[in-house]
């Protein structure tokens, strides 16, 4: 269930801004693993199919397994030398750094997938509309054209296929035709955009300063989510500044601190990453209850 979608755009923007800051800037492998786990849990709880999750996981595993050795080839720092290749040291620390970086990249990528699943153009238009209503109007007009261009591209390509232009043709000819189709569709879209500009004028565009009147509403759960976001951000900032969530890879891999405080901060971060999955689970439970009451 896409329960995160129902949050107010500002809530979502705040959450994702903090999330990406933690996921990308933390050096701590534990935080990185928690971020990846949170992202996968969010997708799973959000209703992604098993096949989709398997594809993402397979891609993730490959990336992580590639990053470890690649980092060893490039960097030779670290105290624990595993073996030498042409005289260069391959160290356990460099390998760990590579794996950790791989986890960070995959975690960020999975969060990006979740972000696209849970946000729409209305969020962007709403956020921009408050500050730059003109720019938001241009963006929304552009967003309208993208699916139209794709649709027309497919339609025109199908029309060419139906008159047999591709019959027995090699890749190069197909590519030439496809390029021509793309060019003609783009050119016609520009022509159509002129008609649209005409309609915009008829509907008063440019007469006065535009306002943005989105239907998105601020609810109680937005306040709760924003407070949780602030808590997550504060915990992470405190952990980084105090060094409790720090981690050094070279010369030897070690946590900044192994203490109850550090564990508590890591726990807060874990909960922060789990918020989308928990929201989805909450949505599911509410749905089940509502469904049962009807049957």
């Amino acid at each position: 269930m896409h329960c995160f979608r129902r949050y107010h755009p500002i809530t979502k923007i705040a959450y994702f801004a903090v999330l990406f800051a933690i996921a990308m800037f933390s050096e701590n492998p534990l935080i990185r693993v928690l971020s990846l786990a949170g992202a996968l849990a969010a997708l799973a709880a959000g209703g992604s199919s098993f096949k989709r999750l398997l594809k993402i996981a397979a891609g993730g595993v490959i990336t992580v397994l590639v990053m470890g050795p690649v980092n060893c080839i490039i960097f030779h720092e670290g105290r624990t030398v595993l073996f030498r290749v042409f005289g260069a040291a391959v160290t356990a620390e460099a390998f760990l750094y590579g794996l950790s970086a791989g986890v960070m990249i995959v975690g960020t990528a999975v969060w990006c997938i979740f972000l696209t699943d849970e946000t729409d153009s209305e969020d962007l238009v709403f956020t921009l509309g408050r500050v730059l209503p003109g720019v938001s109007a241009v963006i929304t007009v552009t967003l309208r054209y993208i699916p139209e261009i794709i649709k027309k591209y497919r339609e025109t390509l199908a029309a060419q296929r139906m008159v047999g232009i591709f019959d027995g043709k090699k890749f190069f000819v197909r590519a030439v035709v496809a390029t021509k189709v793309f060019m003609s569709v783009t050119e016609r879209s520009v022509e159509n955009a002129m008609d649209t500009a005409f309609i915009m004028r008829a509907r008063g565009y440019g007469l006065r300063r535009r306002v943005s009147a989105s239907y998105k509403k601020w609810r109680e759960e937005d306040t709760v989510m924003t407070l949780l976001t602030v808590t997550g951000a504060a915990a992470f900032a405190f952990g980084e500044i105090s060094g409790l969530l720090g981690f050094t890879y070279y010369p030897a891999a070690e946590f900044g601190s192994v203490s109850l405080s550090a564990a508590a901060l890591a726990m807060v971060c874990a909960l922060f990453f789990a918020l989308p999955a928990l929201t989805a689970l909450d949505g599911r439970i509410r749905w089940q209850k509502s469904f049962k009451s009807r049957t």
Binding site: P133, T140, R144, A159, R188, N192, D195, A213
Partner: protein, 457 residues
């Protein structure tokens, strides 16, 4: 009392044109009057509608005046004109500005800086009035053509205009959608006393709905007395099936379809469910049916674009198809350039290509002018014929058309009928799917109705 709209001796020519497209137009409309503006393609209908408001007027030279409630529109503040006159374009694809239904409805109000709560109230009311509450949060790209045109109309009336101008609003709609759309226009006229002008070339079908019918011919306005209502569905079953009575099957069919089954979703219902048909060589076959019954799917199965799950299709010669949008047949600027590129890909030398183009152009009455004109500047009928030429250049003996009369006026339709009949006489088999019962009756020599996945003859 001043008339709601007065057009006095209006003349207009486009900035790049040398002739007047509107000449001495005089028209007066009372508040709440509903007028049908008829005329063939290129007669000046769209230009007249656009010239009424300075907000929609194209660039060019004009004389004469347009008055709303006795005030010349050129002396009115732009905001007043925007609020008083609403315009709905012919093609819903271009008449919609933003990417969501809600955004489209709010667009007008946002442009004039209306209070946010008032915008929300107006959107809610309009969505409820037009019955589009269920699609309010949907993306425009997910809507059908009919829904888009209704959204376009709803967005245009957000500022509660007094005059509503509609430029061939039903051209891209099927008959059922067209009737629903015009019902909504009737409601606006009845409930809010809006003065309505609808440019439309299907006079016979819609004249009965209007207080007055005027005709524009080469830029000159004439009064018409056409009030006959022509209900196409009345004669549907009686005459469509009668087409097959006199038909004779000779020899092997050019197209033979046996037990065709097709569905889009694995567990979904069959769109085509055992469709059978034999179409003789040199015949014109019309396939009719309700919206979404699978006519286009049937055509796509014939072209092998869709692979049926069961059954088979046998076409004994080369076949080529034209989609609903004839413009999609062209990937070059002009028809001539497109034909040359196409024939080059087909392996023809320049001289052979020239000869073929001349032969086909003559057959389809495509003049040198048409061949060298940008495809976007051709009329509906010219685009249709130019696209048809591409099918013939493909060397096809079986031509398939999906809604060939979409957007065509009666003159263009009559020409298309003539050309199809001539091609059939030369042994070319033509199959078209259509909503246009009148065209099917006047053009086809046999017909079928697709219903519940089967073809009834």
């Amino acid at each position: 009392m001043a008339k709601k709209l007065q057009i006095k001796d209006l003349n207009f020519k486009y900035a790049l044109g040398d002739r007047y497209v509107l000449r001495g137009i005089d028209l007066e409309l009372d508040a709440g009057e509903k007028v049908l503006l008829s005329g063939i393609s290129g007669s000046g209908k769209s230009t007249l509608l656009k010239v009424i408001s300075p907000m929609t007027s194209p660039r060019g030279g004009r004389s004469g005046s347009v008055l709303i409630d006795g005030t010349d529109v050129r002396d009115m503040p732009r905001l007043d004109i925007t609020s008083k006159v609403a315009y709905v374009a012919q093609n819903p694809e271009n008449g919609i500005v933003v990417d969501t239904v809600y955004g489209e409805l709010a667009f007008c109000c946002e442009n004039i800086g209306m209070n946010r709560e008032e915008v929300r109230r107006r959107v809610a009311w309009t969505a409820s009035y037009f019955g589009i509450e269920d699609i309010l949060k949907r993306k425009i790209s997910e809507l059908s053509g009919g829904q888009k045109q209704i959204v376009s109309l709803a967005a245009a009336i957000m500022l509660k205009p007094e005059i509503l101008l509609l430029d061939e609003p039903t051209t891209y709609l099927d008959p059922i959608q067209a009737v629903r759309f015009l019902d909504l226009v009737d409601n606006l006229n009845r409930d809010f006393g809006m003065t309505v002008i609808v440019a439309e070339h299907r006079v016979e079908s819609f004249a009965g709905r209007f207080d007055r019918v005027v005709k524009i011919e080469e830029g000159v306005l004439l009064d018409m007395d056409v009030r006959t209502s022509f209900n196409e569905t009345d004669m549907f079953y009686e005459r469509v099936f009668a087409l097959n009575d006199g038909a004779v099957n000779t020899g092997d069919p050019a197209v033979s379809v046996k037990n065709l089954e097709f569905r889009y979703a694995k567990d979904g219902p069959n769109v085509l469910d055992g469709a059978n048909v034999d179409i003789p060589k040199g015949s014109i076959y019309a396939l009719l049916g309700a919206n979404g019954c699978g006519k286009t799917t049937f055509l796509r199965c014939l072209t092998c674009e869709l692979k049926p799950q069961r059954g088979n299709v046998k076409i004994r010669s080369q076949c080529a198809a034209m989609t609903q949008n004839p413009l999609s047949m062209f990937i070059e600027e002009t028809p001539e350039k497109d034909y040359r590129f196409f024939l080059k890909q087909k392996g023809f030398k320049k001289e052979e290509a020239d000869a073929r183009i001349s032969e086909v152009a003559e057959k389809l009455e495509l003049t040198e002018d048409i061949l060298k004109t940008n495809v976007l500047d051709l009329s509906g009928g010219e685009t249709e014929r130019a696209a048809m030429a591409k099918l013939l250049l493909a060397g096809a003996d079986v031509l398939l058309f999906d809604e060939p009369t979409k957007g065509l006026d009666s003159a263009a339709k009559a020409k298309l009928t003539g050309i199809m009949k001539e091609l059939a006489e030369r042994g070319i088999t033509i199959i078209f799917v259509t909503h246009d019962v009148g065209f099917a009756l006047s053009t086809a020599d046999r017909a079928g109705v697709l219903s519940a996945g089967s073809i009834l003859e």
